[in-house]
Amino acid sequence: MSLLDPVWTSLLYLAAAVFFILALRGLSSPRTARRGNLIGAFGALLAVVTVFLSARLENIPWIVGAIAVGTAVAAPVARRVKMTQMPQLVALFNGVGGGAAALVALLELGHNEDPWVRLAIVFTLLVGAVSFAGSGVTFAKLQELMTTRPVVFPGLPVVMAAVLLAAVGTAVAVVLTGSLALAVLLMVLGLVAGALLVLPVGGADVPIVISLLNAFTGLAVAASGVVLGNVLLVVAGTLVGASGTILTRAMAAAMGRSVAGILFGAFKGGSTAGSTAVSERPVRCSSAEDVAVLLGYAQRVIIVPGYGLAVAQGQHTAAELALALESRGIVVDFAIHPVAGRMPGHMNVLLAEANVPYESLKEMGEINPEFRTADVALVVGANDVVNPAAKTSSGSPIYGMPILEVSDARQVIFLKRSMRPGFAGIENELLYEPQTSLLFGDAKDSLAKVLGAVKAL
């Protein structure tokens, strides 16, 4: 059936594209973010209705069934996922989008003789497959189905180069011959390349890779729009590709890394490799009771939440501790590093979920001058974001990354699982300073013990 003429179809697609632009703009500001997302969803709905009304489609019951299956699988998962596991879900959704783009391109190969269109097809196949496999590995890393440490083996750069060369060769052959078998081979090479691309990336850098793969999927979707001659896909895919690139760079800048450094650092055996060496130098260990006394008789406490807090799901206990301290008349703030948690902005989401009021969440620029007036800085499961090496040692992989100036506080307490260095694999000199004390253990357990001791004061 074809209820809409081509002019109306084009106008409705144009409207959907405008909704996507408005959605991205809305998402860029806290006040309009939620509305922006709903505008985007409305644009998508409009586009899907339009395609049903305009294109001559067979198999409609099957298609509707497939949409129902996809919705039935994704919506409940998206609704129920714990906020701490949200980054890997985003990675997963991104991967399946890339996979869908690659499959669409594969099926279009049979109908296209034009070499330019075939070029767009091989681009979609390759980039979509890279995004699918890369996101899959990212998901496995974040879900801790595999190690979060960089996976490197000797000869990895050679293998990667060989795979990429083979992929380019196969892509040229597909453009020339239109062979379906070669196109499938190209997809397989893309899958291998995607996995090899992400395996050497360390846990802390994974969010940046998600953002990068997100941009990749956008580009694959744009190319599939060229294949199908569908302007909406071109515009939406290009928008995501472009904004994703900017976002990736912004994230990398917030962490003081370069995107190339993250992707190729491990290939060179460099920065992201990290070490698990444990230093023998003495540190001051503390008990939960000691920590409770320090906190309970302070006037100003700044809590620095980090990755460890997110992993231990300790955000609710941290919020309760802040409340207990406030009921003793202590001023408590949370200092949020731009990349605290597993993704930039992730910690804000986690603490907002735990009902920590917005005014207590202070961004880095705002809170840094206030550490000087703080009696206690309580660092919960964070390490690299407070490591002075970022300012002092120019050879350090995190050199140049802005940090929270916790060393300005009169007392610094670290709640840590162990003396193992953070994801960047660098020792933190702050741990050995005289004003620092450490409480070892799972962040949530430690917080619960401290909370109990504060209440008993």
């Binding site: 991205l24 899907v48 299956v69 996809g70 998206a78 989008g97 499959l103 979707v221 904004s243």
Partner: protein, 111 residues
């Protein structure tokens, strides 16, 4: 649509994409990434077109797989972004009470 018009549209879209997100605060990086992620789920439109033209059962099967994957990307992406943003929404008036904190904590553990 001819190649030149497509190229024009693409180049303009690149600049719009750069512009709309150029001044985003780091707090919103995650929801923005997630929202952009949902938007590229619009590949669903492409998957529907391909599935609607499929004559051969094998091709239809692959196309329907693409439809399922694209739908998961599109629907899941918007739903998870909305949930994320719901956390931000109204947090100004959110009253932090011990009871609410404990209840939320218990709920989290119960899952």
């Amino acid at each position: 649509m001819d190649g030149m018009s497509l190229l024009t549209v693409t180049v303009l879209a690149v600049f719009v994409g750069f512009e709309v997100v150029s001044k985003v605060s780091s707090t919103l990086h995650t929801p923005l990434m997630s929202g952009a992620n949902a938007i590229h789920g619009i590949i669903l439109v492409g998957a529907i077109i391909v599935a609607g033209q499929a004559a051969d059962p094998g091709i239809l099967a692959v196309a329907l797989l693409a439809v399922v994957l694209a739908t998961a990307n599109l629907v899941g992406g918007f739903v998870v972004t909305d949930r994320m943003l719901l956390m931000f929404h109204g947090r100004k008036e959110a009253v932090r009470t011990g009871a609410a904190g404990t209840a939320a904590g218990a709920k989290e553990e119960g899952k």
